[in-house]
Symmetry: C2
Subunit: 209 residues, 2 copies
């Protein structure tokens, strides 16, 4: 389970603020998640998410003392970017990044919970579809939704996907799911905290691509 | 017609060698071509092609004197990369880049030649499909081919596409097509020269993605 075990998110402090430096360090390993989906064309999604991370990192590195937490970034940009905000800068990049993270979170949670299509128990389409519907679908126009439906057919088998997440380590399925559950604790809390922050700061947009 | 008019490829010398520096300068404007297709999701393709260009540029900048022409790059890498070659380095990046360029070339040529679906004269699906079949299809597995078929429905109207290529300049359609034809002369010669080079140096691969 090395991909997830080696890159655990830290526990949040009582005020649920997310430390920018730690967040960026941990999250930068996550795009390899999309390699576990098998087909190399998913690397296009990986690039999109990597682009989000790079954008946030660039803003952070301009003034690490000013941007200690993610909330500092949003608040500074709200001041600096004027009418463009929140559809600009690291605020926009994190807005989309959090949706990709939510997609991953729901997919893994659904697997950990043992949700399955009983007719096709070794497929993960039902888990991917659930994650897509809750995290992304409403932000996608008909064209991207259609692409998603096509992409669904290239999704890997459940067993292969779990194996890929373990990066070849020969762990039993139950152990794999146990690792998933451990990973999800702080990961879900972090993603929730980012969503709460966007709601609180009125930084969420619902335009479609 | 500014996108194409402002970024004309140069005439090739008698030996058909392609100057690396000039090629990179001119080709780096072409990915904006994919913005003319309308939907923003085509920016994923743009990133793939930009990635190819960046890779070639990185190799070139390491030793501009060694890599004066594209052929110098392939020959040097053939020596340096051993068994990995040609599926590595700038050789691989240019192998894919040339296919994207061929796609653009055939699509524009087909428009310039007035090829149309008489039942749907303002659609360019027939032109895009021709370009795809000749330039890319054989290198794509069933999954990417399926994505292509879906993407086809997001293709812009002919009139809008020609307008986008002109970047808002208010040119008549006939003038637009005339500009296309001018652009295509050196562009097609350059793409042909790169294909010839790959054949000559035995650098072409036909694996699918
Ligand atoms: C030869 C054939 C060619 C045909 C080509 C067709 C092209 C195919 C296109 C497929 C769409 C892929 C999904 C990517 C969509 C992206 O467009 C969106 C928005 O992307 C955001 O856009 C913003 C501006 O509005 C900024 O630029 C953000 O950038 S910024 O950093 O600059 O601010 C950027 O991330 N991201 C998303 O929707 C996020 C997607 C997350 C992951 C989704 C997981 C799904 C997994 C499914 C598994 C079964
Ligand atoms: C939410 C839903 C999410 C679902 C996501 C699904 C993902 C969608 C994927 C769509 C595929 C897009 C096409 C891109 C395919 C690319 O995979 C290929 C090969 O790409 C090459 O691969 C090499 C290794 O084999 C190196 O990495 C090259 O990189 S290297 O530089 O490192 O060496 C790289 O370019 N390029 C291509 O096939 C080139 C494509 C050229 C342009 C095609 C124009 C078509 C226009 C159609 C208009 C109607």
């Amino acid at each position: 389970m090395s991909l997830l075990l080696d890159n655990r998110f830290g526990e949040l402090p009582p005020d649920n603020s997310v430390n920018t430096k730690l967040f960026l360090e941990t999250v930068s390993h996550l795009p390899t998640f999309f390699d576990c989906l098998g087909s190399k064309v998913f690397s296009l999604i990986k690039s999109d998410i990597n682009g989000n991370i790079t954008k946030i990192k660039e803003v952070y590195l301009k003034d690490p003392h000013r941007y200690v937490t993610l909330q500092h970034i949003l608040e500074s940009e709200r001041q600096d970017l004027g009418a463009e905000w929140p559809k600009a800068g690291a605020t926009l990049a994190l807005m989309w990044l959090k949706r990709g993270l939510r997609f991953i979170q729901i997919l893994l949670q659904s697997l950990a919970d043992g949700e399955r299509d009983l007719n096709q128990p070794n497929l993960i389409r039902v888990n991917i579809t659930k994650a897509y519907e809750q995290a992304l679908k409403r932000y996608h126009g008909w064209f991207v939704q259609k692409i998603f439906n096509t992409a669904l057919y290239a999704a890997p088998y459940r067993s292969n996907f779990l194996k890929a997440l373990s990066k070849g380590e020969d762990v039993k399925e139950e152990e794999c799911l146990e690792n998933l559950r451990h990973f999800l604790v702080n990961f879900a809390a972090t993603v929730d905290a980012i969503y709460d922050m966007y709601a609180r700061l009125n930084a969420e947009l619902d335009y479609t691509v």
